[in-house]
Point group: C2
Chain length 319, copies 2
DNA sequence: TTGTAAGCGTTATCAG
DNA sequence: CTGATAACGCTTACAA
């Protein structure tokens, strides 16, 4: 492991000159610089970022912390954010849970984009108090250096139900994932709000497990109901897939006997029969926007107003 | 941002004593320690890891570098590896491409698990030369600190074809993803090797794009063939899904008219009709094994022999 | 244009 | 058990 000293010694100059040369400072003699760079290469020298960091107090790393690594769209968020960050020579790091907390508390990242339930508000606030900008997609907390742009999934569902009401649907049901998931709870909240505003007093609530199998099982039991709802919202697409399968096996017609909509706009929505209506969030825009905002704060100390979330309700055959 | 100095001053002790207290060294007086810890908490002091790093030359971070962030199984690898690492207070960082290279070159991680085409052998070797252990799943390079356990997907396919031959299949076709993907090329390599060993001279090769749509399109064109192959291997499940759909629309019977097998053991293999045979890799074991091996090297300077990869060929209705 | 030297926040050696 | 102090590898006034 060669250091700046080794290079300086071999080049017969001082370490500051090496530092200047390595950092492209304008003051250094072209010949000296050339010589230094050559020797650096020869010695396989790369500056120790840690030491550099200790001086400059920045890591050039950005954290993207997301609980659901299985999220099909993870790649979209990350790739679009990376494109923005890497242009300014920032590195992008993904993590979650305990590791993510540590990375923040230890200032291993200069900024963070967050969609991770497991991170506490305290951790986030502490991180922001170091002067590091945070972009929050999963909650709303006040504070300097914190930009909250919560994905208001409840409002999205509310909007969906209203649209379905206008289309003439009158009885509604909600198929939830595991109830202890804050995501599903939030979606249900929006559902209930819409109904209460529409003065619809009753609705069916079913708790599933978020998987295809669980949707299927529930679909098989649906004939136990005395009356089918007009419209069933599934809190994710996977359950909707299983459900549709089961309904078809019972010769129920979708959307005539029962209309269905999922959430996530999964890859297969267009490929199941009938094709599944679903709600999709534009994760590419999401990643890009957060990245640009953060860079604005870091580079130009400028806070932009977060824009509204790009989501689309894809109406297909199922409703 | 309070530092060790602030704590020392307020506690009326020297910085070394604070350091001892913070690091649970056995030499410090319990009362002093208690006092120091209290003050540290009061001042919201967390040790600066960067400074610590500069001394100790370790980061307590482990990198997992994977090109395909969309990989459904990413979560399995990471979660199982995290469980192992976090037990020893290591943090887990995911990244790829340019950022990943930087993280390695700059020694931001103490070790790495790699499945990322975009990382060059040079980068990896350089990283290993710092004394940092590397666990490679996507290639095989020699060197100290490097453990290569390449996923020999060619051998897996070879094995599959042999099994199909024993079952009586005689004419084989290969549906590839984009040809410039090293993964698909490797799978095709194994396919060809098996055929040559079985002395089968001819086979059909089709290049797709790796998507459902591309599989569908190819399925629609398949009637142009004068003769269907007995068995068609699809280099990923997505293409197989599209293909199956198209074949069904032409009233071709699977597996009687043509048998099909995919790769990845995607979530939907069991749910399409006919259910899709596929090859699945046990990513949970993968992550865990790499993690344990790396910890063995870091903590105990002990190199284990990598075990063979856990993969399973799931035979379902499609072949 | 280059060199000297202080300092970033720790850890660790050595002395007390 | 505690305190001074050197050192980790770099950046950056300031001096030359």
């Amino acid at each position: 492991m060669s250091t700046i000293k080794d290079v300086a010694k071999k080049a017969g100059v001082s370490i500051s000159t090496v530092s200047y040369a390595m950092n492209d400072k304008p003051n250094v003699n072209p010949e000296t610089k050339e010589k230094i760079l050559a020797i650096a290469k020869e010695l396989n020298y790369t500056p120790n970022v840690v030491a550099k960091q200790l001086k400059t107090n920045e890591t050039k790393n950005i954290g993207i912390f997301i609980s659901h690594l299985s999220l099909q769209q993870l790649d979209y968020i990350v790739t679009s954010a990376k494109r923005v960050f890497e242009q300014e020579t920032y590195n992008v790091i993904i993590s979650n849970g305990k590791s993510a907390s540590q990375l923040m508390l230890n200032r291993y990242v200069d900024a963070a984009i967050i969609m991770d339930d497991q991170l506490s508000n305290e951790t986030i606030s502490q991180f922001a108090s170091y002067g590091s900008p945070v972009y929050l997609y999963d909650r709303n907390i006040p504070g300097t250096n914190i930009i909250s742009n919560e994905l208001k999934e409840d409002e999205i569902i509310e909007n969906l139900i209203e649209q379905m009401y206008e289309k003439g649907y009158r009885s509604f049901a909600f198929l939830s994932g595991l109830k202890d998931s804050s995501q599903h709870r939030l979606r249900y909240k929006g559902f209930k709000k819409a109904l209460s505003q529409l003065r619809i007093e009753e609705h069916l609530f079913i708790e599933g497990k978020g998987t295809i199998e669980s949707g299927y099982k529930i679909g098989k039991e649906i004939k136990l109901l005395k009356e089918l709802p007009d419209f069933l919202f599934c809190s994710n697409d996977l359950m909707a897939y299983g459900l549709i399968q089961a309904l078809k096996e019972q010769n129920l017609k979708i959307p005539n006997d029962i209309a269905i909509c999922g959430f996530d706009n999964d890859l297969f929505c267009q490929h199941v029969k009938p094709s599944l209506s679903s709600i999709g969030i534009d994760y590419v825009k999401l990643g890009q926007e957060a990245a640009e905002n953060i860079l604005d704060v870091i580079l130009r100390k400028k806070f932009r107003k977060p824009t509204h979330h790009p989501y689309i309700i894809y109406f297909r055959e199922s409703c």
